[in-house]
Amino acid sequence: MSFIKKPSVHHPKLPTNALGLNRRDYEGALSTLCAGCGHDSVSSAIIEACYNLSIPAHKLAKLSGIGCSSKTPTYFLNKSHGFNSVHGRMPSVATGANLANRDLVYLGVSGDGDTASIGLGQFCHIIRRRLNMLYVVDNNGTYGLTKGQFSATNDKNSKSKKGEDNPFESIDLAALAIQLGAGFVARSFSGDKDQLIPLMTAALKYRGFAFIDVVSPCVTFNNHSQSTKSYEYFREHNEALGYLDVIPETEEIKVNYKEGSSAQVQMHDGSKMILHKLDKSHNLYDRGNSIKILNDHQTKGSIVTGLIYLDKEERDLHDTINSNQKPLNILTEKDLCPGSKGLDYVNASFR
């Protein structure tokens, strides 16, 4: 980590977005993670995506659990409210928060320990409910804060820094997310911002549950030669399914794309996703096919990245329960309390 605070003044000619804000306006406190930590790159991608989308920072809530990854919301969007909850329980807090106010953008940041072990149950159920949020896992296969124990996403053949074997099968969070009904499922790499930022951008716009599993190497405990979550291993074994462009509603499509290898998806707010496919056999609208691709790559030892699964029908928990279009947290006595008249009716029913 660095100890030198950045000055709050910035260059007057920094570019600005539609809200007139520059990238610095989306930054947070100085990171206290290890120098070179993949998580800091994920934070940068979040800043970039929010800047690009001109999301008003105060209209976004950032939530996390416990662990290195869960500390990162301090390091971006300091004008957003943040909630560092308890270990593995961010999904339930996010669910309550989202029910209270459907008008905010919800961004959850978790880790592989927080999500795949202690929080696996809550992770599964938030997906089933299709909460409208972006759920990012900074996946490094290890418990950093407690100094290097295996996590449940660590590959079976991936050794610890001390050379110990990992005897247990790993959990593929992306496959799990697809199976349980997530609408937008991607995998990416903290070191590939060209792929990660558009994925984040699209995922933040997606209405429903969007999940990005970001392989984000732990430079201190899991970046050694026998690890499958190291920078080196990832770069050698990455097989990208494709790349993404997100075109806002107001802009025209200027990207050239080849027939057959590209697809255009209209999003609920009118903007468009352009998918540049590298693997033509991949049908990203088919759950079975998407899960198969994940399995096939895992079997041969490669890591598949990009947008893996997409449900074009965007819907969320509020649609399911048909809740008031107004945020519940602004309703008043007038909206909520049936008054003495209502009570007369109830009393009569108990006579």
Binding site: A57, L328, L336
Partner: protein, 610 residues
């Protein structure tokens, strides 16, 4: 001796045999005759086949506690017959199905045989109906034997089956089959019986969970995360029912979000997340759920997030007696979670207070920015109680506590989430989405300074912990006050109680008073304890705390929190899972006197001697 409007009827049934609705109609018809009635459902943790009982106390005096000794036992379950028969008072009645011949051992009770099975076999073809209508035939016979107004039962049948009108005629037929059999074949001149009075004319008959769920609608709750657990489930079901009744817009949109969670951890997490984001939210659970929620309770306490939590207590420890009642989570709730934590507890004593405290708890949670735990129990929650009608003042406005709006933030220079600006320990909070540039902060369970920043500076953390203590102590002024009742003559003995025990205390006190004993009474309604409770203890040489747990948890809490001399504080403890009776309390009280642990002295005499 005639026992008109003053006796106990008990039904022994088999779970899942359709007895519940007939039993409920029995109790409700007596209530509609104007007579105070206290039904207790004694049921197993089972769906079908195990024994279940329904005990109904009828008391013209309005005594609402259970009473030992059964005047009239309707034994429809051969499994429990041998033990059931022992509960009948000498001279009492045993009602049974005499379709098959039976032998009886007791000579001091009366036997009333009704061929329920054969009546049903003769009149109904469908085997399921033959089984179900036995209960209604029995009810009809009881109407004749106990002088229930049969027209009231008829109208109850019509109300119950309003949505299945086809079932009304066969039910009414069964009712009259039973009644006619009794009138034609039985001596219906019993020493127990009912006579219309007007005592309950203006009252309602309602369960605590129903009232609490309704109270949450009135209190403005919009978000619920919950996980099914007996005996709390019916509270959330009631909330859902009244949301459907009162909160559905013409276009079908619902002004609430009710989510059945994957477990209790998620249930409370959702309620915390929603409260953090400015909605009034709650969850309801029982003992095992409290254990699971404890980690989150510590977070809500330390990060100062409003939360309403209903604990409908059941028999513990562990899975314990899931369908029996206790008051055994006092300490686990008062101090729930690791580290130094303390929580505000409310103790409703009947469904009326369940309604009122449920509605009030949302104000308290937001004013005090901390969890409020409403400590009900199975007896209040899942049994019908006769209470005054629920009331609501239409001038009531919700107290949302210290929440800063956009314009407040515009005017503020130096806002800190945990700054004690007003000296009451209660800081100002902000909600996400309020202001473009001001008022954002990071909510965390880690040690933090007044500006919500992470700190490992022990001094700063200690200061923050002391501020929370200040807030906790000062919370007393917002909480329901204890209720003190003076004995008719001066006494040095004080009796402390709370919750569902109250009705048994009322009756026990009358009995003791009639025997010449004098005891001042104090009913606790909230924790932390107010000064009134402290002075009540100081004002008496002997204090007796009545509670329904083994370890005298409330006594421990009083001694610990108020720093009182433990040698003068005695206990009466009932923890068999059944609601305590007045006789139990009287006996235990007299026992304390007998052993000289409690010695009565008239204060006036003492003063004049001095």
């Amino acid at each position: 001796m005639s026992k008109i409007n003053d006796f106990v009827v008990k039904f022994a049934n088999v779970n899942g045999s359709g007895s519940a609705s007939a039993n409920a109609m029995f109790a409700k018809s007596i209530f509609r005759m104007g007579i105070p009635v206290t039904p207790k459902n004694i049921f197993p943790s089972n769906i079908q086949g195990l024994p279940t009982w329904f005990e109904v106390r009828i008391s013209k005096h309005g005594y609402a506690a259970r009473r030992e000794g059964i005047d009239c036992f309707i034994t429809l379950n051969p499994q429990t017959y041998q033990t059931d028969v022992k509960e009948i008072l000498p001279g009492g009645y045993l009602v049974y199905d005499n379709t098959m011949p039976r032998n009886f051992s007791r000579k001091d009770i009366n036997y009333i045989g009704i061929p329920m099975a054969s009546i049903c076999a003769e009149n109904y073809d469908d085997p399921r109906q033959r089984q179900l209508f036995k209960n209604i035939v029995c009810l009809g016979a009881l109407a004749a034997l106990l002088k229930i107004d049969i027209k009231i039962i008829e109208s109850l049948i019509k109300e119950d089956f309003e949505k299945k009108p086809k079932l009304i005629p066969p039910n009414i037929k069964a009712l009259y089959l039973g009644r006619d059999f009794a009138l034609e074949n039985l001596d219906c001149d019993l020493n127990v019986g009912l006579k219309k009075i007007r005592t309950t004319k203006k009252k309602i008959l309602i369960q605590g969970n129903e009232a609490a769920g309704l109270g949450c609608v009135y209190g403005g709750a919009t978000v619920v995360g919950w996980y099914p657990i007996t005996p709390s489930t019916s509270l959330v079901e009631a909330f859902q029912k009244y949301v459907n009744l009162f909160r559905v817009k013409d276009n079908g949109e619902v002004s609430a979000g009710i989510i059945q969670a994957e477990d209790e951890l998620a249930a409370v997490g959702m309620a915390i997340g929603a409260n953090w984001n400015g909605a009034r939210a709650f969850t309801a659970t029982s003992g095992p759920g409290i254990s699971l929620m404890s980690e989150f309770l510590g977070l809500a306490y330390f990060a100062e997030i409003p939360l309403v939590l209903f604990n409908i207590q059941r028999g513990g420890p562990s899975t314990g007696m899931p369908t029996r009642t206790q008051q055994s989570d006092i300490l686990s709730c008062a101090y729930a979670s690791h580290g130094d934590t303390k929580h505000i507890l409310l103790f409703p004593s009947d469904p009326k207070e369940c309604f009122e405290m449920a509605a009030q708890s949302f104000d308290l949670a937001e004013i005090l920015q901390t969890p409020i735990i409403v400590m009900s129990d199975l007896d209040i929650g899942m049994n019908d109680w006769v209470i005054d009608p629920l009331q609501w003042n239409d001038k009531t406005s919700y107290e949302r506590g210290k929440v800063l709006k956009k314009q407040d933030l515009d005017e503020l220079m130096n806002w800190g989430r945990y700054l004690d600006v007003d000296g009451d320990g209660i800081p100002y909070r902000t909600l996400p989405g309020t202001h473009e540039t001001k008022g954002s902060y990071f909510t965390r369970g880690t040690s933090h300074d007044a500006f919500a920043g992470y700190t490992e500076d022990g001094r700063i953390n200690a200061d923050n912990m002391m501020r929370i203590t200040k807030k906790f102590k000062k919370s007393v002024k917002y909480l329901p006050k204890s209720v003190r009742r003076k004995a008719k003559k001066d006494t040095n003995i004080g009796l402390i109680y709370f919750g569902s025990t109250s009705v048994a205390i009322d009756e026990a006190n009358d009995i003791l008073e009639s025997q010449g004993h004098a005891t001042d009474l104090l009913r606790i309604r909230s924790f932390p304890f107010g000064r009134g409770i402290s002075s009540f203890i100081d004002d008496h040489d002997h204090i007796i705390v009545m509670e329904q747990n083994r370890d005298a948890q409330m006594r421990s809490l009083l001694i610990n929190e108020l720093n009182k001399d433990s040698s003068k504080i005695h206990s009466i403890l009932n923890f068999d899972g059944s609601p305590v009776t007045a006789n139990f309390i009287v006996k235990a009280f007299l026992n304390l006197l007998k052993k000289n642990q409690v010695v009565f002295k008239s204060l006036k005499k003492k003063q004049s001697a001095a």
